[in-house]
């Protein structure tokens, strides 16, 4: 119940002061003491957050630096209208869009350092070089015609190598590739002097090719009497010296007198396959920094032929007796070998025709008599028989296969005359190869109507260029008869569309070289090769050996492995007549 306002007013005005008596109790004093307080602090500011630092490094990466020499004359941009190397493609864009597009799609050829260069700086020097197509087009480097892509690859192969074999098949332009690389090395200052050694008949060819492919590089041809040659060896300042193998022998003392070459190039390097030969000894003794070998036939008889060449390139690198596969592995980085089939897919084909002929009755009678008598004589010799005796019989029989010595009849000549009628009638030209000048003399009368020219060992060197010029330019000269020895290397006869092998050489590589006089770059049409072979004779048996040797070459150089040595060994030569060697049974050639 709530109090009314009147009641509340009555209370306020009433006297409430009542008398209070206190008693002395002990606890009353305690009441008068001030109270004691105990305090407790509570912190309401909160805990500070824990800081976690993440390290953001600003350490700069380590830098490896390489600097390269800039040679003053090396492919500097031409002063006239020529553009820097890098500009070449653009130049083509502005000139001919289609051509430029084609160029742009070509894979550029780059120099790759060989495996035996180990220093990183040296390897980078080659890796960082511009594509050869750019280099070639820059500055004052001009060419008679644009090199083929595989030729650029050949240059890129040779350029960084200190020991190399360029083993392209004949006709692919080993000369041009070597010259262009020498030119680049000379102009870059990487080499100051180069010695090129070639067979004597090829000196003029090399001079001509240098004039075409490196016209600005001065040449010194070693020739003349001994005093002149001495001066040329010691005083000539031209960066390129050309000498022939024969002169090296005569000038050996001069070469041994401290002359050094930055590069020595051996053309037709198969000449030094025999390490015991004087030629091999002399070239190996030349003081040099780089060594290159050019040969279309690095293996002529057996894989050990390569050992001889490598004794010049890198002494001790190869040993005789290695298996074909092992040798292929070792030489892979040092040899570049291309065939026309591999690189010139648009080159006219090379067609082989084996003219398997029956000897004339007269030839056959003579042949049988000679063979029978010869074998009887050889058998009668017993232990006295030597390889020379067998050789003599082989050569005699081969000559009978060419011409009957009694009557002069020849199944091969008959066939050759018939074929030449067609060749001459169509205005074409042919090369005929034989290994004997005597055979060449015998065939001349029957071929007189084709105005044959001759090119062999009996033709003086001074007249040989004239013979070739006459053959090339005179429309009435339909054929040239050559010996394998004189005509198988270094000659450019690509205007010929027919090659006749009147007799077969012992070595398929020599035959290939002969054929490739005609079947090479610039060949206008298909080259027809007619290999004449007398059936059921020694020629047929030799042919089987030659086929086996071709397989050998493929095994090592084409690196498919597997084949064993297949040189024309003593056993094989004896086997041609099913004879026994003095020391026991022999293996037949086939």
């Amino acid at each position: 119940m709530e109090a009314s306002p009147e009641q509340l007013t009555s209370l306020a005005t009433s006297d409430l002061a009542l008398s209070v008596d206190t008693f002395a109790l002990g606890w009353q004093s305690a009441i008068s003491r001030p109270p004691k307080f105990e305090t407790t602090s509570l912190d309401f500011s909160g805990a500070a957050p824990r800081a976690i630092s993440l390290k953001v490094p600003r350490v700069l990466p380590r830098v490896y630096s390489f600097t390269f020499p800039e040679c003053p004359s090396y492919f500097q941009p031409a002063k006239k209208k020529s553009e820097p190397a890098l500009a070449r493609a653009a130049h083509e864009v502005s000139g001919d869009d289609a051509a430029a597009e084609k160029t742009a799609t070509k894979k550029p050829t780059r120099i790759k350092p060989p495996g035996d260069i180990v220093k990183l700086e040296d390897r980078l020097y080659y890796v960082l070089q511009p594509p050869l197509e750019n280099l070639m087009a820059s500055g004052e480097m001009t060419f008679p015609f644009e090199p083929f892509p595989y030729q650029f690859q050949g240059i890129a192969f040779l350029y960084p190598r200190y020991s190399a074999i360029l083993a392209d098949e004949m006709g692919l332009g080993k000369t041009m590739q070597a010259i262009s690389t020498i030119r680049m090395l000379v102009r870059s200052g990487e080499i100051r002097n180069c010695l090129l050694v070639c067979p004597k008949p090829l000196v003029t060819n090399w001079r001509r090719e240098f004039n075409a492919w490196a016209p600005e590089i001065p040449l010194s041809i070693v020739e003349g009497d001994s005093n002149k040659r001495r001066w040329q060896w010691t005083e000539a300042t031209a960066p390129v010296t050309i000498a022939n193998y024969e002169l090296l022998m005569r000038d050996r003392d001069v070469l041994d007198s401290g002359i050094h070459f930055d590069l020595v190039v051996l053309d037709e390097a198969q000449r030094i396959k025999n390490t015991g030969s004087t030629t091999s000894e002399i070239v190996r003794s030349i003081s040099r920094t780089r060594s290159w070998a050019l040969t279309g036939t690095p293996i002529e008889n057996r894989p050990d032929d390569l050992v001889g060449i490598f004794e010049f390139l890198s002494p001790g690198y190869l040993q005789t007796g290695l298996s074909a596969k092992k040798m292929a592995d070792l030489v892979r980085d040092h040899i570049l070998r291309r065939t026309k089939d591999m690189v010139l897919t648009d080159m006219p084909p090379k067609m082989f025709r084996d003219a398997e002929l029956d000897l004339t009755a007269e030839q056959w009678a003579t042949y049988k008599m000679a063979e029978d008598e010869g074998i009887i004589n050889l058998n009668n010799m017993g232990e006295q028989i030597t390889i020379q005796h067998v050789f003599e019989l082989v050569l005699r029989l081969k000559q009978i296969c060419n011409f009957d010595p009694l009557t002069g009849t020849s199944a091969k000549l008959e066939r050759l005359e018939a074929d030449m009628e067609e060749v001459a009638a169509s205005g074409k030209k042919a090369i005929v190869f034989s290994q004997w000048t005597k055979t060449i003399d015998q065939m001349k009368p029957g071929l007189a109507r084709f105005n044959p020219l001759e090119y062999h060992g009996k033709i003086p060197s001074a007249k040989r260029d004239g013979v070739l010029k006459e053959f090339k330019e005179n429309k009435d000269r339909h054929m040239i008869i050559m010996s394998y020895g004189a005509g198988s290397v270094g000659l450019n006869l690509q205007f010929c569309e027919y090659v006749f092998l009147f007799d077969r050489w012992w070595n398929p590589a020599i035959e290939d070289q002969a054929i490739n006089r005609a079947h090479r770059i610039g060949a206008k049409g298909a080259v027809t090769v007619t290999r004449m072979l007398a059936l059921n004779t020694i020629e047929e048996r030799i042919n089987q050996v030659l086929e086996h040797k071709r397989e050998l070459f493929a095994a090592v150089i084409d690196q498919t492995g597997g084949a064993s040595s297949a040189g024309l060994s003593q056993g094989e030569i004896f086997g041609l007549f099913n004879l026994r060697t003095p020391k026991g049974p022999i293996r037949t050639a086939a």
Partner: protein, 181 residues
């Protein structure tokens, strides 16, 4: 006759970065003379961002690594003065902040448009046979570059040297690996 200081140097610089799945980034800088011959080559040890950098830099990580860390460091090492520097990676344009010469990104024909680039690039323009662009902040470089083009060449193949750099970086890595093994 212009004095030596005002002459435009004939050398060109080429900067790129390759990425190795395990080792990280390798930078390469190649200086060529006007004939395309190498004068200098510089390369870095591998650069690998840590997790913190990946988080903190976010989308700017690559320009930071390519331009500031690698590009700037490499270009600073060169002894030859160059007329301009080219790169084939837009992220390297970040290095322009730290160098005095123009820096161009060179586009391959089939490359993405500038708008899709990982670094802000300016508008494209033709330089010889190539399409190029400057960094967006340095579009004034275009004028300088076009003046240079008359002195160097109308149409330089600016993409070709990058193949050389990549091969050289591979070669350098190959030479280090056997030694490290």
């Amino acid at each position: 006759m212009p004095d030596a200081k005002s002459r435009t140097p004939a050398a060109l610089g080429f900067l790129t970065v390759t990425e190795h799945a395990e080792l990280g980034l390798f930078g390469g800088y190649l200086v060529l003379n006007a004939a395309g011959r190498p004068l200098e080559f510089h390369c870095t040890s591998p650069v690998k961002p840590n997790r913190a950098q990946e988080i903190l830099y976010g989308p700017t990580l690559r320009p930071y690594l390519f331009g500031e860390q690698i590009g700037q460091t490499l270009i600073a090492k060169a002894k030859n003065e160059v007329a301009l520097v080219c790169t084939d990676l837009a992220a390297c344009l970040a290095a322009r902040e730290f160098i005095e010469r123009p820096l161009l990104v060179v586009f391959a024909k089939e490359s993405a448009s500038a708008a899709e680039s990982e670094f802000a690039v300016g508008s494209r323009f033709s330089f010889g046979r190539n399409e190029v662009a400057t960094a967006a902040k340095f579009e004034a470089d275009q004028q300088a570059v076009q003046e240079l083009s008359a002195q160097l060449s109308d149409g330089i193949d600016l993409l070709e040297p990058f193949a050389r750099i990549r091969e050289a970086l591979e070669e350098a890595q190959k030479s280090v690996r056997p030694a490290a093994a």
